[in-house]
Symmetry: C2
């Protein structure tokens, strides 16, 4: 392994000059700086992050906690985080809690010491998590908190309702997800109208969607909004098995607009947001806090919530309401 000493020796300078030339170029005379840079490159010198962090109190890494990496929703967020972190020259420690709150807390405890800050994507135990992380900055996704990135759930729901009402639907069902879901609670609040019947909680799975089919049909709704795209798939499938057509007899709107929505048949109209942007924004928020921290500007600990716009992508699963019999 090539170290600062090797570079220093080869360049005929001290190790501190090497260190400065590489991480604080303005403090070094141009010729020296260039010579050091050239030799470092030639020798293939790679600074040891762990060592640098040990001294400087930074680790050069971010932590990302997701409940399930195999879920396309979180996979997309993770991709956004990885992308932006790389641009900032930071590493990303990814942990998958497998939807288990206990695991969440456990892994965070060790993550906290190996990172400069963490991003909690849809955490299942926010408060315990915060405590486990300690003093390092925490950005939450789809949760309330001083540093948060959320989707404009209300806007998404409004768009969907407008879309459906414009198609003549007068009675709309909402197939809700887990009771612990932050988004679900927000959506229920945003729906709150007389012509919307909220169902659930249901499991956020194909089976969950299928289980809701009877209730949806019984509700007399001509359109349904589901907790997520997978639930929509289950609902569509079960409703069809009952001899109804989608979208002719029942329009279905999914949520999250994962790549799944475009792949299934019928392609799902879906409420969504740019998931990679969620990851990018969360990273940006965290990195901003990291660099701001030492300077301690006046609004240093100021809370900040980034709200990303909700979108509605219209595809084939929604159409005009059937004539009332």
């Amino acid at each position: 392994m090539v170290t600062v000493r090797d570079v220093a020796r080869a360049a005929g300078v001290s190790i501190s000059t090497v260190s400065r030339a590489l991480s604080a170029p303005e403090m070094v005379a141009a010729p020296t700086r260039d010579r050091v840079a050239a030799i470092a490159a030639e020798l293939g010198y790679q600074p040891n992050r762990a060592a640098a962090g040990l001294r400087a109190g930074r680790t050069g890494a971010l932590g990302l906690l997701v409940p399930d990496l195999a879920n396309p929703y979180f996979a997309a967020v993770a991709k956004g985080v990885a992308e932006r972190a790389r641009e900032h020259g930071l590493g990303v420690f990814v942990v998958d809690s497998d939807e288990d709150p206990a695991v969440e807390v456990e892994v965070l405890r060790s993550l906290a010491h190996q990172t400069d800050g963490v991003i909690l994507a849809s955490p299942r135990a926010v408060e315990a998590d915060r405590e486990a992380v300690g003093a390092k900055p925490v950005v939450v996704v789809n949760q309330d908190g001083p540093l948060a990135v959320v989707t404009d759930v209300a806007a998404g729901v409004r768009l969907a309702l407008e879309h459906l009402r414009g198609l003549g639907h007068r009675r709309i069902a909402y197939v809700g997800g887990p009771a612990t879901s932050w988004s679900d609670a927000r959506r229920r609040a945003a729906l709150g109208d007389a012509d919307v019947v909220a169902l659930g909680p249901h499991h956020p799975t194909v089976a969950g969607g299928a289980a809701a089919a009877d209730a949806v049909v019984a509700s007399g709704a001509t359109a349904a909004i589901t907790f997520n795209d997978v639930v929509a798939v289950g609902l569509v499938r079960a409703v069809r098995e009952r001899g109804l057509r989608v979208p002719e007899d029942l329009s279905v709107v999914g949520c999250d607009d994962t790549f799944l929505a475009a792949l299934v048949t019928p392609a799902l109209t879906s409420i969504g947001t740019d998931l990679r942007e969620v990851g990018r924004s969360a990273t940006e928020l965290l990195v901003g806090r990291l660099t701001a921290a030492p300077g301690s500007g006046p609004d240093d600990a100021a809370p900040a919530t980034i709200t990303l716009p909700g979108t509605l992508t219209v595809r084939d699963s929604t159409t005009t309401a059937p004539p009332t019999p």
Copy 2:
């Protein structure tokens, strides 16, 4: 931050005793060990991995490189890696190269110094990657190499062919993927029969599958095996637009058996393997090499390839061959 010194002071022992009590318990008298452990827990002491690694020459972290985290295939592998790494108490640095070989090499260069070894999932530039990583152990997935985890592609293809032939299909098309794909090459080799017509290369996307539709129809095949599940979706869609039915007129077999296969309509018969197991095996292989390395047993640098069985999950996209006109 609680350090060894704090624990040592509180326990009335030296810092080395604390270190030993925690990482080499058998070297410390039981009462001392227990007291230190109790105090460490009470104080909420978390060892600083970076510092430990700096001294011991290990970082306590693994690197995982994937071409696209949002791809369900790699997401599943990543989940397996994360799971097993956690069991070993190791962190996972995840990098997404966005399918770009140049990015791959660049990120690996810095990854190499922050990890004890790396896993390359379907790397796009293996040789350059190896060089970038340097001396640290490298496990490749779906590639040839001294330390590799691969799927038994031939077995999967054989199962699919047997399944299709058993249904009476006599002419079968293979819709191939990117020319650079290791799996694609293996599959073509495994197909090699007179009644199989290999098409492509095609993009591994819905559009790629759709683009292959005409060629598949023109080939006179009554069944098609596609590069992956997404391509299968594209093929099914395009073939249906041409007025043919799936599976009645054309049986379709996907590859990878991602969760997608079960969600689309018709649910796809798919050649697959346990993706999480791929991640787990790769991690196991890497960890084994890490712990073996210092001891330097006789077969220390011995190559090892784990071949995971290929499977065929039969769903709704395959049925008996149509009667020859």
